[in-house]
Symmetry: C2
Subunit: 331 residues, 2 copies
């Protein structure tokens, strides 16, 4: 993939606004697989003056002997940098079977579990991860193909509730940097890393997006397709923020928490849809699709049928100029 280095004279760490926005004096957990990306993240943080990092390495039990070498490498690197280090081990394959999860999901849940354990020990629930622009572009494209209806990527800061209700805050300061830039930076400094860290078990689809789709798009367009998607995702995030503000501003809830139809009818159609989508979501209807939203919006017509069945049970009902959700467990 062609990489345009923005300003070769500019140090990589000056291109990471997150470094200026968060406190360097606080403690941070840092997820380190031993691969180039997370090794670069760790060195960048140390160079930028983060003193109280805790290196967290999880052996996924998927790579046999190489796993033990990864763990040894990470432990030694942390020691060299004067940082604490936690190494955990899970059997992701067993978890996949036991919980009927995909490998990607099982590995992600296991990592979150591990970070929570590290958090308890070190009294810090902020985790920094090394996802970069290529990861982001793949995520955006994959979400789009799976039907996310927009350019939805990973967030710079993501609050997360893990099983048992424990909380983590994931930070991803490298989302605007390319993998090749991180590797180049490590090479310039003669830093070592492990090829194929256990933290990233690339799925077949991701590999194909990376190795086939993006190079083809770059070649056809003569542009950097990954960065186009990364910028698109940033814009999409901002449009969602504006949408959330608009939904609040529309002020369509009555004091009983029902949607007030006379208010709703005065809004432009796109905002009606956004308000109804938000209303369904807060009542636990996961990601209402265009089809359900279309039927729900038909309820605005006083002549139309007064109720729409909801996936997962219950219905959205029009009664006395209000929309409310009925017959749903938990409401």
């Amino acid at each position: 993939m062609r990489v345009r280095v923005k300003d070769p004279g500019m140090d990589l760490k000056d291109r990471i606004p997150w470094f200026r926005e968060v406190s360097r004096r606080k403690r941070w957990l840092v997820g380190v697989s031993g691969g180039a990306d997370s090794v670069a993240l760790l060195h960048l943080m140390v160079e930028a003056g983060f003193r109280d990092g805790v290196v967290c390495h999880l052996d996924h039990g998927l790579r046999g002997r190489a796993s033990a070498e990864d763990a040894k490498f990470v432990r030694r690197m942390a020691m060299g940098l004067g940082l604490e280090c936690e190494v955990g081990r899970v059997d992701v394959a067993a978890r996949m079977v036991a919980r009927q999860e995909s490998m990607e999901t099982a590995a992600r849940h296991a990592r979150h579990r591990f970070f929570v354990e590290c958090g308890k020990k070190h009294r810090c629930y902020r985790v920094v991860l090394a996802h970069h622009a290529d990861d982001q572009a793949e995520t955006v494209l994959w979400n789009l193909l799976r039907g996310s209806h927009g350019l939805k990527g990973m967030s710079l800061v993501q609050p997360l509730v893990v099983e048992n209700g424990e909380k983590l805050e994931i930070h991803r300061p490298l989302l605007d940097l390319r993998h090749d830039e991180l590797v180049g930076w490590l090479k310039d400094r003669r830093c070592r890393w492990r090829e194929d860290g256990s933290n990233r078990q690339p799925v077949a689809i991701r590999n194909r997006l990376r190795n086939e789709v993006f190079p083809l798009l770059d070649e056809i367009s003569g542009r950097d397709a990954a960065m186009a998607l990364v910028r698109g995702a940033a814009d999409h995030d901002e449009m969602r923020e504006v949408e959330a503000w608009a939904v609040g501003q529309a002020n369509a809830l009555d004091p009983q928490g029902r949607l007030h139809l006379p208010v709703l009818r005065e809004l432009p159609p796109a905002l009606q849809r956004a308000v109804v989508a938000w209303f369904l979501q807060r009542s636990g209807v996961l990601g209402p699709d265009r089809c359900l939203l279309g039927r729900a919006l038909e309820l605005l017509d006083p002549e139309a049928s007064p109720a729409v069945n909801l996936p997962g049970g219950g219905w959205l009902r029009r009664r006395s100029g209000r929309l409310s959700i009925e017959g749903r467990s938990g409401t």
Copy 2:
């Protein structure tokens, strides 16, 4: 490209909501190249009860003898359907040279010019075109790669100002249907069409997106990538509508048409950006990019430098708690 037919029992024309939303008794200009898509559009309109269509065919002068055959074919088809027919001819190649336009741009401008002429003659400036879901998906992907920062496609209804200030309204009722569905529909009815109508001069990039990228994405994802993009574009359109409403609601203009900083500062950052983008656009700054917007937003800080240069001349200046545009010709 794999096509999922939504409901095989449902007639194609019942899947075109536009047919129910516009008046069938009005006159409509219909752009017909003679290729499958526009022939299907014309037959669908006639079947749906549109009586007063004017078939408009432009020979782009790019296909030699085949062009004359196309025109003859279209004229005969219109006659068979009892519709009026206008055939025009331009030399797109000459126009490309004279105006330094790409072939796609030159051809599009020539078509618009031709539709305006037809409009004058028939007193109707509404043109129906046969762009379908595959065209839309290619447009969305191409815009994204070129940096549109979102899933921007063609609109169902597009008001257009042509050279000399003349107005057209372009309608695209087939945007949700696949090319293969249109061809299947024509075959079922034993309708004839011309392979490779002159109206669509596919550009190399479009061809490669169609023939290489979409089949690869379909294969990797096991889904219909084109429809994912088409749906994404529809959602993007709606988010833009909500954004426009939010910008109006933010009410950040003072009576002199300047941006009122105390109001702007109270808004969430994503909406500040949207308001400033809108303010620059209405002052003629074309598609302000993230970089310019970032610098413009720095003006909110009373300690920062009070002016930002604008592309095309002039600057955005902070003065007495307001932002205004100065030194720009025409403002």
